[in-house]
Subunit: 217 residues, 2 copies
């Protein structure tokens, strides 16, 4: 079965979850799993799992299930995790430090190559063997090799001016922790937003409306 066109964001957002669960199964020595067993583990229905995976060509065999390691590798390929996209991080405060310290960039498709901040007390310090540079060096550093992606861990107010600089340096992909809506200003960029306060407000809604029947999709 060939990969489908026009796959929905909801399906794509579930792929990393499959990948995580399969990684765990693999580490636990599980060789083969049915969509029903996978559904019990993941909290999706078996039919949802089959539908999702069929978008990318389908991998299981009727009545036989999925080979864990094979499916894990296939989903990794679909996600493009071997790409090693060159990423830079802007903002080495608490959040930037947490992101740069804890993320396994290499196994998620990226290599973190530079960290920038404007705070004099942080410049020169190291995170993961990467020296925090003055943001004034941005253009010089990006001249030889345009980064594929920029991680924005700076306050909303600082993003507008900086986004113009990054965009004109040719950076078209962003992992955005600020509340600045890049995609509205630059419709041709790819932005993955992490809006922590939206997530917190969603939790507040769910806690405030407990009795409500919420559809998952």
């Amino acid at each position: 079965m060939p990969k489908r066109d026009n796959i929905s964001m909801s399906v794509i957002r579930r792929l990393p979850r499959y990948y995580r669960f399969l990684s765990e199964l693999k580490d636990n020595g599980v060789v083969r799993i049915s969509s029903r067993e996978l559904s019990d583990k993941m909290g999706f229905t078996a039919s949802q799992i089959r539908q999702d995976l069929n978008c990318f060509g389908g991998f299981g065999q009727q009545g036989y299930g999925y080979i864990v390691e094979q499916l894990y590798n296939e989903i990794g390929n679909i996600l493009g995790l071997s790409n090693r996209f060159n990423a830079i991080l802007i903002g080495a405060g608490n959040l930037g430090r947490a992101v740069s310290t804890h993320m396994s960039f290499e196994s998620r498709g990226f290599t973190l190559t530079a960290i920038f901040d404007s705070n004099e007390s942080l410049i020169g310090k190291k995170i993961r063997d990467i020296t925090i540079q003055n943001i004034d060096n941005l253009e010089a550093v990006c001249k030889d090799r345009t980064p594929d992606m920029a991680i924005l861990c700076i306050p909303r107010d600082s993003v507008a001016a900086l986004a113009d600089r990054l965009y004109h340096l040719g950076i078209k992909n962003y992992w955005n922790f600020s509340h600045y809506d890049l995609a509205i200003r630059y419709p041709d960029v790819i932005v993955e937003n992490v809006h922590l306060s939206d997530s917190l407000m969603t939790l507040c809604y769910r806690m405030s409306n407990k009795s409500e029947d919420i559809r998952e999709i």
Copy 2:
């Protein structure tokens, strides 16, 4: 129009975004806005906006638009942001510190009342006037007043044992930054997950499949 039953998670997840945009419009002195203008600002279609808001009763008038401050307040009420749910945070490492320092809990429906860690070098230090306590004190602190929600900023491996303690203390709502799937172990809890590595992998997919036509919903 009454509020609908069976509202989808996708609609609920868009509410905080409306709230943010309306907050900004209000701060900029905008009094009234049409769904078309709002759609230009937010990158949703005008019809999507009308449909979303109709789930909660509908607030605009045909041909007149929305009163910004009124809609802002109504959405805040729908989200339950005045609740001041009592929240505790577990894990005062870089991520926990970033979350506890930067989040406006009070304006997002929560009050952060206690921070716990097991790392001796952190215990006794303060974040936002809250003293980091030894995780051994958890039961004692929660005895008098059960927290409404726990924020988990600890590694996946530490969560399983801790989740049992929290659950048996009566905590049924979680803002979960770990990769441990609480909702599978405890189907009756409300969990809002922040899976940063899933977000990074989704970005990797989108960068690896640029030419692809992805449906937003």
